[in-house]
Symmetry: C2
Subunit: 237 residues, 2 copies
Amino acid sequence: MSQAWHEEMQAAAQRGGRIGDRDIADKVRRAVLMQRLPPGTKLPEVTLGEVFGVSRSVIRKSLTRLASEHVVDQRPNQVARVRAPGIEETRETFEARRLVEGEVVALLAGGLSAATLEALGGEAREETAAYRRGDEAARIEHSLNLHHLLAEQSPNRVLGGLLTDLVLRTSIVVALYKRSGLASCYQEAQHDRLIALLADGESEAARRAIHDHLFGLEALLDLSPRESRIDLMSILG
Amino acid sequence: MSQAWHEEMQAAAQRGGRIGDRDIADKVRRAVLMQRLPPGTKLPEVTLGEVFGVSRSVIRKSLTRLASEHVVDQRPNQVARVRAPGIEETRETFEARRLVEGEVVALLAGGLSAATLEALGGEAREETAAYRRGDEAARIEHSLNLHHLLAEQSPNRVLGGLLTDLVLRTSIVVALYKRSGLASCYQEAQHDRLIALLADGESEAARRAIHDHLFGLEALLDLSPRESRIDLMSILG
DNA sequence: CATACCCATATTGTATACATAAGGCCCTGC
DNA sequence: GCAGGGCCTTATGTATACAATATGGGTATG
């Protein structure tokens, strides 16, 4: 367990009043997303309990929730660990998300209220601004917000739920496999283009835009099998 | 809590040796699928604990698992209840499953081993046999096995996981909204046709076959809004 | 007669203690 | 030097006690 993660969590615990399993899951999820908790990190229940000032009961519920979101691996009689999706699963996650998010934006095109479009545009603008000032954490936050908003607005709530899950999972693997040289996975103007197509009701063009966006994102990752820093950890660990 | 369900569970508890949260979730899931547990049924933790001979800890884990599968509703400070998806959600679930299962069978076509094809054929045959002898429980079992097998065989494991979830959810709503006159939702020969197309590698035809199959299944349901026996329970409850 | 309030009861939320199993370390034997 | 086995440490699995909260019924009141 790294030092940084411990103090981060302790600080988070102190700021809030009563915290529940939901809050804890949120914090751990964010920490994973921001790579504060590297894959494979052990998450012992007692330790987390001390950090958050609650008992194992609450922690267990949080971990179970995170496991159902595929954020942590929770195996019987074993310490929960931050999940490390392999290269194959990464590709599959992207493929699944292309299918689902493509369908969602196609359904969404032309049916969004002005207020929603404005909210989407706002997130896109803030993402760009964060990128320009080099604030990667904020950039990821706004990018996530944008896609999460799409998922929430889906007229098909079931598909929306699936999309929410897939957005989280892709975000985790992006953080994991981002090429070391790259500071960010920002793709200039792609979000704005998508929003314009949604506003114009161009269903199929919006679907293609999402496909391009996700293919582009996947292409920014280093998914070469040789670099097995992650696989070693999960296989040997 | 109905009488039948209680004795069913007690019998189940007695037959097995040590039972864990997984087993309990399985049994409750089956009971829901077989309509032994009607929607809205309360599932108090202590009652379940007594029935299965375990403490609330185990029950809680089971319920949480079932909640993540959308089988039960688990809201804070409230007793868990068997979930009652509304008509709208039913349609959305079918739409989502068409999208995902269509893609899965398209990916699967032409790539299945002879052994897997034989296993699929076996389930289809057993389903037909069960239908002919009027054993609806067995028919559902084999139909579920078939689709579950498809999900497991998906080269894309992420999509397979999504499909597993959707198959379960559609099964629940089929049980719920099956027209009262209908003894079964069996659709003659459709499974066999699908398997043939998979064997022949006809991706797009297989996708269409699944679409037809699922549209046909949805058409067998009574989704008219007037009959609000379910909606009243979930809205007022 | 309808409504609002209040109390008794049932049920979940949380913490803790004990039981059980996994993992690591050292020690022994080859 | 290396492999194997047993002990010890650590962490999870399960049960239980207590606290907090919802639910339902009964009663008083407008």
